[in-house]
């Protein structure tokens, strides 16, 4: 009987290479999982603390003379953040009502309205502001950073933040009357 001898030792991928490959694979999966988790988070929710909003404002639409407004500087005030765009037809439905509401509250300084112009061009945005006689602070969402922070799904959307910087109400779609807006702001002022 003839004995078969193994002529070469069994060779495979070195252990260090296996460790590196598996580590990279796990790291990649973790990154993908984080990304998916972020994508599925949805909009910011009622009760979330909002404190990192900084908006550069259009010339002529400054806040107290400053060309930038920070939410951290508005502590103690109710802040209404309205996302809009000049190409957005539903935004036009609520534009005049928002301005009327602003006119009602601007006197006592307890409420601040901020318009965030979402992916728009400045000439059209200015024409829109002029057309609806908007006078409250407005600025472009540069790099879509603010809309990404709020994880908006479209325009118009309006976020009501209380005096402590906590989100209290989210309006998806346009308001149909000034009373609608008042019914959200007034309870926050009590």
């Amino acid at each position: 009987m003839t004995e078969i001898k193994e002529t070469a030792p069994r060779r495979g991928v070195p252990i260090w290479a296996q460790i590196i490959v598996w580590t990279l694979l796990v790291a990649l999966l973790v990154l993908v999982a984080i990304g998916l988790n972020r994508a599925q988070q949805g909009q910011v929710q009622k009760g979330d603390k909002i404190n990192q909003l900084t908006l550069t404002l259009f010339s002529g639409y400054e806040y107290n003379g400053a060309n930038q407004v920070k939410l951290s500087d508005l502590s103690g005030k109710v802040v209404v953040v309205n996302f809009w765009a000049s190409w957005c037809k539903p935004c036009e439905q609520e534009a005049a009502d928002l301005e009327k509401a602003w006119e009602l509250y601007k006197g006592d300084g307890k409420v601040v309205f901020i318009g965030v112009d979402y992916v728009d061009t400045e000439p059209e945005a200015r024409a829109y502001l002029k057309k609806f006689g908007i006078s409250f602070s407005n600025g472009p969402d540069l790099g879509t950073k603010i809309s990404q922070m709020f994880r908006i799904k479209g325009v118009p959307e309006t976020y009501f933040i209380d005096q402590k910087g906590v989100l209290q109400y989210v309006q998806i779609g346009p308001f149909t009357s000034v009373a609608d807006i008042q019914s959200i702001i007034d309870p926050l002022l009590k």
Binding site: T2, A8, G12, V13, L28, A85, W87, V119, G143, K145
Partner: protein, 171 residues
């Protein structure tokens, strides 16, 4: 003196006028690029840049074919910027700063984005290396088993050996 134009003279005059008109027309055609330069960029020039940008509202739609009002405004903006002498890179940078990196088809190679550019070639190289090693191992093992088989079967096959011997002799 009576001024009368004969038919012949009339023809000469008409021909002269036509010649002068033709000369003016040719001259105007020759000098037109210098005199009537069109500062408005063409649709093709606008779309060449728009094609590289994506609508941030309706995702995955290039700006040149996007039918929305927003995209129309952005194409007008590109046209305006081109007419002001902006370069393609300047326009792209403006769009990135205004609307975020998602408006460009390729993510900029910064931060974690560089993984997008580095990982695929690395994975391909690693895969090629693993395949190469596996292929080498398979060929080695098949050669070794073939050699082992011949070692095993050679002594047993006396009939074949005798047949080969006889064939050699006949030659």
């Amino acid at each position: 003196m009576e001024l009368k134009l004969s038919n012949k003279n009339l023809r000469i005059t008409v021909f002269a006028l036509l010649a002068v008109a033709l000369a003016f027309f040719i001259a105007s055609q020759i000098y037109r690029p210098a005199l009537a330069q069109n500062p408005t960029p063409t649709d093709d020039e606008v779309n060449r840049i728009a094609h590289q940008l994506y609508c941030p509202v309706c995702e995955n739609t290039p700006l040149d074919v996007c039918p929305t009002e927003a995209c129309r405004q952005w194409r007008d903006l590109i046209r305006q910027q081109l007419s002001q002498g902006w370069t393609e890179d300047q326009i792209k940078q403006y769009f990135i700063s205004q609307y975020g990196v998602r408006v460009v088809g390729e993510p900029p190679a910064t931060g974690l984005n560089w993984l997008v550019y580095v990982l695929p070639p690395l994975v391909i190289l690693a895969g090629a290396f693993v395949l190469f090693r596996a292929f080498r191992a398979w060929t080695k093992s098949s050669k070794a088993s073939a050699a082992a088989e011949s070692e095993i079967e050679a002594p047993k096959d006396e009939y074949v050996a005798r047949l080969e011997e006889e064939l050699k002799k006949r030659k």
